[in-house]
Structures are given as C-alpha cells and as structure tokens.
Chain length 434, copies 2
Amino acid sequence: MKQAQIQLSIDDLPSKWYNIIPDLPGGLPSPKEPGDGESRLQALGRRMIGECLKQEVSDARWIDIPEGVRELYIQAGRPRPLYRAYRLEQRLGLKKVRLYYKREDLSPTGSHKVNTALAQAYYAAKEGKTVLVTETGAGQWGTALAYAASLMGLSTVVFWVRAVYDWKLERRTLMEMYGAKVHASPSNQTSFGRKMLSGDANHPGSLGIAVSEGLEYVDGSADRVYCLGSVLNHVLIHQSIIGLEAIKQFEQVDDSPDLVVGCLGGGSNFGGIALPFIGEVLAGKRECEFLAAQSEAAPNLVKGEYRYDFGDTAGHTPLLMMYTLGHETVMHPIKSDGLRYHAAAPIISALRHSGHVRAVALPRDEVSVFTAAKMFLESEGWLIAGESAHAVRAAIDEAKAAEAKGEEKCILINISGHGFLDIAAYRDVLRLGS
Amino acid sequence: MKQAQIQLSIDDLPSKWYNIIPDLPGGLPSPKEPGDGESRLQALGRRMIGECLKQEVSDARWIDIPEGVRELYIQAGRPRPLYRAYRLEQRLGLKKVRLYYKREDLSPTGSHKVNTALAQAYYAAKEGKTVLVTETGAGQWGTALAYAASLMGLSTVVFWVRAVYDWKLERRTLMEMYGAKVHASPSNQTSFGRKMLSGDANHPGSLGIAVSEGLEYVDGSADRVYCLGSVLNHVLIHQSIIGLEAIKQFEQVDDSPDLVVGCLGGGSNFGGIALPFIGEVLAGKRECEFLAAQSEAAPNLVKGEYRYDFGDTAGHTPLLMMYTLGHETVMHPIKSDGLRYHAAAPIISALRHSGHVRAVALPRDEVSVFTAAKMFLESEGWLIAGESAHAVRAAIDEAKAAEAKGEEKCILINISGHGFLDIAAYRDVLRLGS
C-alpha cells in the first residue's frame, strides 16, 4: 500500500523552537535608527510583548516552547501531517523526482500564522496584557491573532487597510466571530486616522497607515500590546515548529529533501519550513537547497537590494538590513495578497546574501500559479491558498527540470494555507464557470 | 498538560466497515415496490454500482475495506482526530460532564461525505464505469463525489437543483475544479429536463426532478453509474469508519461515551458515528444513548410516521420503511440545507422504532444553533458547518441538563463538516457586522 500521509505522534511534538541566529555565518546585522532623532527601537520595544522582544535578540539556539503553548499547538491540530505526493508525481510523470508537502493548511484559521499567534497570545496573557493590537493586509494574520486571542480569553483590535476590508467580507466576519474589533483603516479610533479621514472621508488606507494607527492605539492603555505576524526574528523562531516537525517525519520514512520550497512574502512560512533544515546544512549535517517562490508583484529577494530599509511604508519601524524593493514601492495588486510585501525578513535576507537561499518570481497574472494549484487539487485532492500555489508551481518547475535532466531529487513543499476563502480567486484567474 | 487532541495511528485505521443489519433486533424491513407495475428495485439496481448493491443487502457484519480504499482514506486525511472539548467544558462551567468531538470537518471537501464517495468511486472504477452521476441539494455530496472521482481518474455529472445552483457559486466552482460537469436542474441534458424547461424556462427545480434527470442520464451510456450519498444501507456502512475510529480513540484514553450526538438529515453522518457504538450496545458490550439533532424544518424522526415511503419527491425510488414526513412535503428553507430531507435512513428509522435512538428538532430560525457554533468557535477554535452546529447545540443542552441534575456524563459529538463556505450563513443568522 502506498501510504501518502506521514503522521507525527503528539508525543513527538517538538519541545523547543529553533533560533538560527547563533548559527548564521557572520551573524545577523543589527537593526538601526534612521538618525532623525526618533528612537524607533525603543518605541517598538515598549509596545511589544516582553518575551518576544527577548527572543528577538536572543542568541540561544534552542528556545523552550512553554507547556501552555504546546497545549495550544495540540489544540490547533499540531503536529500536522507531511504527505508524499504520489498522485501529483504520477500526474507529472515523475520517475526520478519525489515530492512531499507539509500541511499548514489544516490550521483552524487556514494558515501557518497561528503558530506565532498562539505563542504571542500566550506570552501577552502572562504579561498581563488583555488587548492584542495589530494591522493586517491580506487578513490571514488578523484572523490568526483573533483566533489565538479568543483561546486565551483576550481581545483583539485589528486595523485593516480599508481597500481590503471593504471586499473581504467573509474573512472580516470570521475575525469578528473570534471576537476581534476590526477597524477599516484609516479609522476614527486614532488621531492619525482621524487626520487622514478629515482629508479624505473615503481614504483607501495603506499598510503604513494601519501600522501607525495600531502603534498609536497601543499607547492609549497599558493593557494593550502590539503583535507582529511576519519579518521579525521571534516570528520566524515560532514558525520553526513547521520544519522541526518535518525533519522528524522525514526520519520516520528514511528520506531527506534535496530542495525545500516555500512561498515568500515577508518570510514567515518560508522561514518556518526552511530554517531548521538550513541550520543542519550550516552545521554540516545535511545537504539541501532552498527556494523561495515569490510573485513578480513583490520580488524582493529576486530584484531587491540588500540594504537597510524600514519594515513599513510610513517609516515607523527601525531600519532593518533586508532585501528590499524600497519601503515606498507601490506593488501591483494580486489575488495572493500574502506575498505582497516590499522586503524579506532580515534572517532570510542574510541567508539569501550568503547564498543559502535562492528565489524565483512568478508572473503576477497568477495563471500558471493557480493552474498548478488546480493540478494539485485534482491529483492530491486538497484546496490550497493562492500563496501556497506559488510554492507548488515553483516546485513543479524544479521537478520537471530535474526529471528532464535525469536527476534524482527529493523536493519538500510547504503548503502555507488552505483555499476555501480563495475560491473566487481561482474562478477569476482561471476564468472558470460562466 | 491537558491534551485535547486524541490521534489514531494510521496503523490503527480500521480494515473493515461495520454493517449493523445482522444485529438489528427484528432485522430491517425490506424495500417494496409501490405496485404500479414499474419495478423500481430493478431500475435502481441496474443503475447502481454492483458492489454497492451487494453491500446494500449484505448480512455480513464486517465488510472488508479494500486496500485501495484504505489508501484513499489515508490520502483524505484519515484517521481523523477525536478531541476532548476541555475548553468548551470550561466555557460552559461543566464539572461533571465531559465533552468529546470527532473531526470530520478535516475532510478535503469539508464534510464526512467523502467517506462513501471514495468507496463508490473506487468500486465504480473497478467495474469499468467512467462517469459518476448524481443529484445534489445542499452541494456537499456533489463536491465529495467530484473529489473522489478526480482522485480515481473518473468524471462526474451532477444535477443540481437550480434554485441552489444559482446562489452557491463557490461550491459550484469547487465541484467544477474537481472536474465535475454541473448542470442546473431541470437541464437540457435529459428529455425529462427539457420537458420541464419547455413549461417554464426558469423552472427552480427540485430534488425529485434532479433525481429523475440523473436516472435518465445514466441510461444513456453503459459507462455511467448512479451514486447515492445518504439514506441507503451501503452508504451507512461506508460511514461506519467514523464510529469505528472513535471507539479505538476512546479506548486509548480509557473513557467511554454515555451519549453520542450527531445531526441528522438523511442519516449518513449520524449513522457513521453512532452505528458502531449501537452495535456494541445491541451486543450487550456497552451502555450508551444516541441522540439525533434535527431541524424543525425537517423533523422526520421527531414528527414523522414510521411507514413505507419513497426516497425522493418524484417517486422514482422503491418504497422504504422509514420515519417520514411524506415524500411530497414542502420543507422550509434553512441555512443548514443538509438537514432538509423528508425521511430518515431505514436503518436509523428501525433503531428509532426500537427505542435505541432518540431525536430532537431545533428551531428553524437557527439562531440557537449558530450561537452554539459561535461558542464552539470561540472556545475550541474550529469553524463548523451549520449542520454540525445542530449537534453541538443539542449536546450543549444535554450537558447543561445533566450538570444541573448533578449527573456524571460523557458526551460524544460528531462534527460532520467545516464552515468555511458557511460564513455568510453565520453572518445572516447571527446578524453580525454592519
């Protein structure tokens, strides 16, 4: 019997997260102040969860996952299965290439974002905070945080770019069902938002404005704390649970990937699957390549420069050393909004710079991407998110190339999320139905 | 650590389905011809999958699950976890009542329907059929069949009641992505459909018309076969995988339910979770009660008569001995369409008649039902289907009643499906958002 699903026993759920920083060749360039007199490091630090701030600068290779967070992970369905994609291999006529995929799509809110949301909600509650504040663009992060807050008995306030808020009604309802207060940004909740609205009552907003509103809102009460869903080191540390599970699952079936592929916007799901494997590569314990699948709408690792830049459009964050398209770049709208970010996480950028990570940018019309996702659906049966479809497309291209060259190859794909709220995107991009 | 999730190892995936018929006290009343000269038994038998027809009348207690179907089950994510609802218990303030739930919502298409769809697609392929034909009302069955056909390399033709087809665009797109041809019924694919359309070009259709069209369509080619998604014995046999897994999972945690609750339209998910437990009750091996959660829109077990009736509105099926509201009853529309069926499966009806199954009908405005689902979401984190919400509501009511009486009780709930395509229903029923 060909057994596609590879479980991991709950007893084998990792008890520590992996922090790659101490293993990075040359270390990680420190954040910087832009030198305009305003200390953004202090300002951000003051608004963040204390434990997350500690992890952000930790040089410990392994960080204990608190018992309470492991309990939440198990509640959220972890460990998640790894699959051998026998059916997709057959569909593609692969004889020498093996494909595997990791199932973050089984998450309660539909994406890997819960892995850090649960940790952050847990720490926030321990530190006496009761209100989690954030901004969201695509909406996956806001949903995950609202979910995590709900489980911890906290509340969430989400500032959501108005242009997206207005049409993603299903996702907004879901956040609200988890108890989140969701404000279209600019909002009348902050003086900055009110100022924007006074200029234009129908202001479409931007991620930069939403961040500004969130930060101002946090300052309004000591109960509030700001949570971040990607890019920063502590987020990637929490996401390492994905790759750590996958390593154990590969051991169970006595196989090992030669290439790990994940989609990349800011870098949290890519980092989550890749960093534990990269750590073993850096330690000389394994050979493996790593490929970030991006959109041409935001090809930060492909076309960006490696330099200091702000993490947000408005310049409220400290300067981070990243591959960036420039924090003020206007990016073309795509269905897979989760990949529209101007820069890649500092850790991923450093690994790109040292040659450990390569990247590809896929056409922004997303036709080839959703076509790959449909092939995945037809053969493997699972409906995946548009973002994840980028990883599947890139992996299929790599598989075909290896097969054509007669190379034996084992490829691991991270499926970052499910597509039940993306069906309209499939329909539009692939021009399905009448 | 409170470990909510109870896995079942793939090695422990059941290798046989359970057939309760040989254990039914007094056996199961046979189907009958209505006596109008037309042999519906023969007509239906001729159009069905041969192996399913054999199982339909089998008196074997255990039926081997073919290796190929077990492979498909594992592909589809089985075994599915059982959860102890610690968080919901806490939310409800339960001290003496324990709640568990089984996770059929983790299915690729979002419902338990895949359990029989995969078996039917497997058998159909073995018998040389290439086109699976069916009707669908709510759409869950059509999606599951399209999925199963896709995995087996078969195609699907779905006749979908036009009134539903017109507004469930997401679900229709999903079926089509799995390769199904979906026809609004009445359609121009059959002479019966054309006749209906000639009378009214915008005929809204009905389940009876869709069945008639499907049956006529099957007759058009020997490649085609008719598949049924509920009510019949072989469907309940395939669904027994749910309860068989749950029994093993309860053994692992050394607990045992006193009450099993499932929602019930025709009876396939209820039968799936309950029948293996009922079999052990009938054999004197366990004590347990069983509760079917229905809608007042179609309270067949609560208000129906136990008598012979047709399975479809138009009278194309043989007569089956069932609790029925009458096959021509017009049922009030509800969001949880999957519960709108005029009769309960013959096996469930027999067990209701013998006093082994009780039933409750919940208000058709669905406010109390979706309120329970929202409470489930807030505490357990999972978004469930409206149908499943009926089971959760009924279980919560039972739990509170037991707690009030100081009774110790263990309750198992079947979560038949997820709610990612039901978010609009939550919004409408609970009047969420602005």
